[in-house]
Every structure is written in C-alpha cells, then in structure tokens.
C-alpha cells in the first residue's frame, strides 16, 4: 500500500478575486482513510469539486495509478471511479431509493428497459451492506437526512467507486447514526477503497483516519500519518497563526442589554434557546455546519416563526412576521448564502444598497414615492466607502464584483437601514484575506458605535478573535457558553462535536 491510488500535484484554482487553491498536493491510498482538515474557506470544497469534475484546475495534474487523468464533466469523474457523498445530499426527492442508487447505470433487461426487479434486488443488497433497513421502493422525500446519506453511500458502492469522498458526512447525524457510519467506513476500507474524509470533528478523525492532510487558506500546510500526531498539533496547523495578532483589538465598551431572547423553539430546527445581547457587544455563535444557528437567526429576522419563546428589543417585546417587520424593529440579518439571499447580482451596486432603504431614498419617505437618485447615490457612497469597496463605478452590476466586495455591498445594504442589532452569518466565508480584515475591522467599529453584533461563524480563530462571548450550539440546542478569555480552540471543537457535553447533559 505504498504507492498512492490517486495523486494530486500542484493543483491551483483561482476564482475572480480569490485564489482558492495554490499548488496543493494530495495522495489517497487504497484501503486507507485520509482525513482532510481545514477551516471553512481553506479550499476543501474546491478540491472536492475538482476531484468530481465540476471545476477544472487552472494548473497541476491528477494521476490515477500513475496515469494522468482529467475530468471535463462530473460524468468523467464518475467513470474514473471517483464518487462524492456531500454534506447537503444531492439526490432526487421524487424518485425511489432504488432509482436514486441506480440512476444513470440501472441494470437493463430486455429491449434496453430498466430491469426493475433486479434493480430492487441489487438495491436491497447494497442497502443491507450499508446497514440500512430501507425499502428500495420508498420515495426519497419520505426519508430523514441520515437515511439519505445511507442511500448516497449505497449509490457510491453501486458504481463500484475506487475513490470515495465523504464531505462532512456526520454533520447532521445523531451519535448512534455516526457509529453506524464508522462501521460503514470500515467496510469501505476493507474493500480496498481510497477514502477522503472531510471533517471538523477531531475525535472521529483520530478514530477512523489513517492519514491526514491539513489545508489553510488554499495551501497544504501539513500531512502525515495520524498515529504520529495529536489533536492539538492538528488544531495548530489548521488555525496556523497567532489568533490575537490578526484581529483588531477590542475598543468597544459593553453597554446595557438590548436584545433578550428566551425559550426560542422551532418544531424541527432548534429548541429552547435563550440569550442576552448588549450594546457594543459581539456575541459569537459557534457550532458545526447544520447546528441550527442560521435557522435561529432567520427566525429572529422574521423569515420563519418560532413555535415558542419571546424576543424583546430595548425591553419591548417584538415578534416579527417578516423581515420587513424585523428591519423596522431594528434587527437586520446578513445571510450566509450571499448569492442566494444577500446580493441581487443582476442589479447595480447602488440599487442593491438602496433596496432595504427604499422609503428613505424616496420623496415623501414612502416606497411609492419617486426615488431621489441623488439621495440614493449619497446613501450608497456613505456606506460603501466605510467598507472600502473596490469597484469601477456604482452602477456596475454586483455580479461582476469579487466575493469580498459583494459581501461589502450586502453588508452596506443592511447597515443603511441603521439597525440597532446586526446579525452576520458567516460574514467572511469564502472571501479573500484583505476583505476579511476589512470586515473584521468594520465589525469592531460598529460595536464601538454602540451597535449590538451577533456573528455566526464556523471558523475558530474568527470566533475567538472577534467575540466578547461565545455561544455554542449542537443539533439545534445550546451546549455551552464561554466568556472570550475562558475559551480555547479545543474546548470549542469538543463542545460543538458533543464530546464533553454528553456527560454534562446526562
């Protein structure tokens, strides 16, 4: 098992404004699990997309058993025996379990028709191999996330993949399901597959991985055998820099409480969450992807309604029924999904910035009044210059900006409404270092002006470097709360992964 099954050499990939990967290498060996470790934005998902044929690398080569390969389409990658199981399972809700497993390569019978009986029989066998007690004819939409994962894994087995990429497969699973998954990974390893296992959870990395590779800011910063390392050195590699040095110093004085949330619950997404936020404070929300943090924030913002719980701003109870209500109550939410929920990429910068303040830039102060373009440009200029936006002109479309500058436009849009509370959901995810620093400095500035800030982040240095207090969530529930000076990276990771809190809760 010395020669690698799959080797990546000097892979580089750039997107407008960001270098996602700079000449990284990676080796995957048959019958071994390689853990890929890194923060969000370290380049892991870009690497997965290159391996599965969605992106083509700008430079570098991919070899499979010493043969150079290139994947023009996802189909090519699948043909070469590479398959990925994604964190957000991408399958077909309306098709049956068996069809999801065999779509594109179903067993054929007479006349080239799909042999349903054989397909179901083979699906049944695969499902048994992965330990799933599922009826192959069940429609996928009737299943929970865990079961969908099992279907995805069965699909991976069905195409007889040689390389299996598992992208945070345990992010949304319960402890028991995770145990079952470990058994499955063991089965795959026994079967001689090369497995790339992406995870934030250190306990599972040490439990199942044979090798590790650590990415940071698009570069490979360390690799080796798991048995030669320990979790603190991995965290050091992953975080890399001295946490305090990078982030701007705290200058804000924490004032009186402004936001009070108690007992916030949702039937399926989160349960019994309470916290207080004060003027000038930055409250960090840490957790793994899918811990329910964004769902909580969107509920505070009026996108969904809680089933129980209250929220009050400045002592006045508020229950926003729409984002419009929330904005007028003084709370805004800068979403994580910049392209889908934040920026309107087809419209110019100034129209994006004014969109949440149409009343203010219109004569008569109402939305049906005439837009005063002078006021509109003045408003835009005021906020984008504070954020040091780089653009050719204010009527440039937002879609033509880099990710970092798009984020500045999005933040400017919500700031222009002059909120009392601003929620930033993964504010620096996928943006370049320079823009990151600008966003961080700006958050400090806002806090110093007396704004109350909530920052949802999955990046440990960001959480530790920016927050005054840290609130940790796991599977929709609060699991820990730290004052900034009391928290260590390992404590956060352990709390979010549910290792220590399990005993505490019991």
């Amino acid at each position: 098992m010395d020669s690698a099954l799959l080797t990546l050499h000097d892979i580089t990939k750039e997107f407008p404004g960001v270098r996602a990967l700079s000449s990284v290498g990676l080796e995957l060996h048959a019958g071994e699990v390689t853990a890929l470790v890194g923060e969000n934005g370290a380049g892991k998902s870009t690497l997965v997309k290159i391996l599965t044929g969605i992106h083509a690398p700008d430079a570098g080569e991919i070899r499979m058993e010493d043969e150079v390969v290139s994947f023009a389409t996802p189909h090519d990658a699948a043909q070469a025996g590479i398959t990925a199981i994604h964190q957000e399972t991408v399958l077909f809700d309306e098709l049956s379990v068996a069809e999801n497993i065999f779509l594109g390569h179903a067993p054929r019978g007479r006349l080239g028709l799909i042999d349903k009986r054989r397909m179901h029989r083979e699906a049944q066998a695969l499902l048994e191999r992965v330990g799933a007690q599922l009826d192959p004819s069940t429609r996928l939409r009737d299943l929970g996330i865990a079961s969908k994962h099992l279907v995805a894994i069965a699909r991976a087995l069905s195409i007889d993949a040689r390389v299996v990429i598992m992208d945070e497969p345990t992010a949304a699973l319960s402890q028991q399901e995770i145990e079952e998954l470990y058994v499955l990974v063991e089965t795959l390893r026994q079967a001689g597959k090369a497995i790339l296992f992406i995870s934030h959870k250190f306990d599972e990395i040490f439990r199942i991985a044979d090798r590790y590779s650590v990415f940071r800011d698009g570069e490979l910063v360390g690799q080796g055998r798991i048995r030669d390392t320990d979790s603190s050195s991995l965290v050091r590699l992953m975080v890399g820099r001295d946490v305090d040095a990078v982030f701007p110093p705290r200058t804000a004085k924490i004032g009186e409480p402004i936001l009070q949330v108690s007992g916030y619950s949702h039937p399926t997404e989160f349960d019994d969450l309470s916290f207080t936020l004060s003027r000038g404070e930055i409250l960090g929300f840490y957790g793994l992807v899918g811990a329910g943090r964004s769902e909580l924030m969107q509920s505070l913002f009026g996108v969904t309604r809680p089933s129980a719980g209250t929220m009050s701003i400045d002592g006045t109870p508020v229950s926003p029924r729409s984002p419009a209500d929330a904005i007028s109550a003084g709370i805004v939410y800068v979403p994580e999904d910049r392209g889908g929920q934040g920026a309107i990429t087809g419209l110019p910068i100034f129209r994006n910035v004014s969109l949440a303040s149409l009343g203010e830039v219109s004569r008569g102060g109402s939305m049906t009044g005439f837009v005063d373009m002078a006021r509109e440009f003045a408003l835009t200029e005021k906020y984008v210059s504070r954020l040091e936006l780089k653009a050719a002109s204010l009527d440039q479309s937002v879609g033509s900006l880099s990710g970092g500058n798009q984020q500045k436009v999005v933040i400017a849009k919500w700031l222009a409404t002059r909120p009392k509370i601003i929620v930033l959901d993964e504010p620096t995810k996928g943006i370049d270092i320079g823009s990151k620093a600008a966003v961080h400095a700006f958050m400090r500035e806002l806090a110093a002006e007396g704004l109350a800030v909530i920052m949802v982040s999955s990046e440990i240095p960001e959480v530790l470097g920016m927050s005054d207090r840290i609130y940790v969530m796991r599977a929709g529930r609060k699991v820990a709360e730290f004052a900034r000076d009391d928290a260590t990276p390992e404590q956060l990771v352990r709390a979010a992964a549910g290792i220590e809190t399990r005993e505490a809760a019991a």
Partner: protein, 332 residues
C-alpha cells in the same frame, strides 16, 4: 480609517455606447425599417387617418402589456387577461340590461377587472401557487362565467356617450385610446423606473429571497401587480366594448398570447428581472405597424402572426446565439 478611500464614480463611462447597444435601440431600428417598407409597399400608408385607424390594433393590448410587463419583471405572469376582458365586458353588458348609464358601466368594468386581479393575486401572492397554472385556470374560469351568462347571445345597445372610449377623437386624428395609451405608458414608466416600488419589482424578479430579506413585502407587491393587471384589463375591456359596441363571450379571444408576445418582444425577460417600458412601447408600435402594413397589402392577419412569431423567436435567439458578437445589453 477611510481617509484614503477612493471615490467611486457613480456612473461608468460609455453610456452612449450602452444606449446604442441596447435592446430598445434594436427595436427602434426594426420599427423604422418596417415603417420604411410600409411606405414603399403602399401609397395609402402615410395617410394620417389610415395611421390613426391603425393604432386601434395595438392600443388596447398595449395598455394591458404595460401592467403585464411589471408582472413579468417580478417573475410572475397573468394568462387570464383576455378572459378578464370577456368577464368585464359581460358584467358591463349585464349592468346595461339593468339600466346602467355610462358612469356606472365604467365603474362595473373597472371593478370587475379589480376583482379578477385580486382573485389571481390572492392565489399567487398569498397562497404561493405558480402563476402560470393559476392563471390558466382563471383563464378558463373567467371566460367560462361569461359563457354561462351569455351563451351564444350578445349584449348590445350601449349608450352613445359610452362609444367615446373606443371611437372618440380628442383632436383631429388623435383618438381617445391613443391618449390613454400614452398616459398609461407614462404612468407605468414612472412606476417601474422612477419609484421605490419599481425598484422593489426588479429586486423581486432578480432574487425573490434576497428581496424578502431586504425587507420588501414580496407578497404585497405581487398582489398589487396582479391588481394592476386586472384593472388595466378592465380598462381595455371598456375601450374594446365601446369600440365594438357589443359584448360576446368570445371577445378578445387569444389576446393573452399576443400581449405576452408584445411584452417579451419589448425586451422583458420572461424569467423576470429585466426589461423596460419603452421597450414594450416600441414592441407595441412594431406589432401595430406590421399588422397595418400587411393589412394594406391585403395579407390576412394569420400571416402577420407568423411574422410576429418568427420575430419573437429570432429576436431572442440571435443575441443568444451570437451573444458576444452583438453585445446587446438589457437595461434594468
């Protein structure tokens, strides 16, 4: 910290080039070409009274098209507009039987349009149903009610004063409908391009989630757009009924497709988010000129529709096929 911040210019250079490369510029060229061909084709074309008569074949449709343009920019569509005409016209005829005078007839026409628009708006904006299916349903329902009321009968005998809307002249060759056409064009131009409401419509059409998150009351805006489209269908019903002087349940049959064609030809993206009212005005004029020109040559209407169909597909396909070459911009 922002002492060194560069000042970003408001507008990029090359506005002139953008204007000449715009969709509307292409439509102007097409309109001029067709106008020129028409003058060559028939000596009767330039007669002011003939030209005035020719405007009737687009003014009523265009009034609805302007409202429909906003609706399509927002990402929705209303296929029931022609059926609203039928129902509004039937309601007016019914009121006529009960002895209503012109002012009441107008109110009944507008009111029916408003109610129909509200019904569509309720189903789409409040219940979140797909507008294309909902309005195919109301397309059948509204005209169906007209058929139930009228069967194979017709209402006629509208008062003389009612005839003004579809047959009256304001001055010389300028018809009342022309004035209404210009007025509604201006109103919808201002609404879409000069007000905060218009900004919200573009925002919704480009990215409904981001618009919602920006505090725009998306359901309310969509509801209002359906209401406007319904009212404009009511206005068109008044004009058309007045012009024809009678109501049959088949009135305005098939207009929905011509109106959508007009809107799309005018450069409104059928998927929402872009397009302008001037584009729709130009498209209306082009369709009017084509109909009139073929009419002068005694070419039947159906051949004209082939031409419009080809124009629709080719005008949209060519920039896509030769995208970088033509470099056409769609203004927002």
């Amino acid at each position: 910290m922002n002492t060194q911040a560069r000042v970003i210019p408001h507008r990029a250079n090359g506005r002139l080039r953008r204007i000449f490369g715009s969709w509307e510029a292409l439509l102007v060229v097409i309109a001029i070409a067709i106008f020129f061909i028409n003058t060559q084709a028939s000596p009767y074309f330039l007669d002011p009274w003939n030209l005035s008569d020719a405007t009737f074949n687009f003014t009523e449709k265009a009034m609805i098209a302007f409202a429909m343009a906003l609706l399509i920019v927002s990402g929705e569509i209303d296929l029931s507009v022609a059926s609203i005409i039928a129902l509004a016209s039937t309601a007016m005829g019914f009121a006529l039987q009960l002895g209503a005078g012109t002012p009441v007839l107008v109110l009944v026409g507008l009111g029916t349009g408003l109610l129909c628009g509200a019904f569509n708006g309720l189903l789409v904006a409040r219940l979140g149903l797909p507008s294309i299916v909902v309005t195919i349903g109301t397309l059948s329902l509204f005209r169906g009610i007209a058929y139930i009321v009228l069967g194979d009968q017709a209402y006629s005998g509208y008062p003389t004063s009612f005839a003004y809307f579809g047959q009256g002249y304001v001055w010389w060759v300028i018809t009342f409908e022309m004035v209404l056409f210009v007025a509604t064009a201006v109103v919808f131009y201002v609404l879409l391009h000069r007000t905060g409401f218009g900004r919200a419509v573009y925002g919704i059409g480009n990215n409904p989630t981001a618009a919602l998150f920006s505090g725009i009351r998306v359901p309310r805006v969509k509801f209002l757009l359906f209401l406007m489209t319904g009212v404009m269908s009511g206005v068109a019903a008044i004009c058309l009924t007045s012009r024809l002087g009678s109501t049959r349940p088949s009135i305005g049959f098939g207009w929905e497709l011509e109106i959508v064609t007009m809107v799309v030809l005018g450069g409104i993206n059928i998927l929402g988010g872009s397009g302008t009212i001037p584009g729709v005005v130009l498209a209306a004029i082009i369709m009017g000129l084509v109909t009139f020109g073929f009419g002068l040559l005694n070419v039947p209407g159906i051949v004209m529709s082939i031409f419009i169909g080809l124009l629709l597909i080719s005008v949209i396909a060519l920039p896509r096929v030769f995208g970088s070459f033509a470099g056409l911009h769609r203004k927002r």
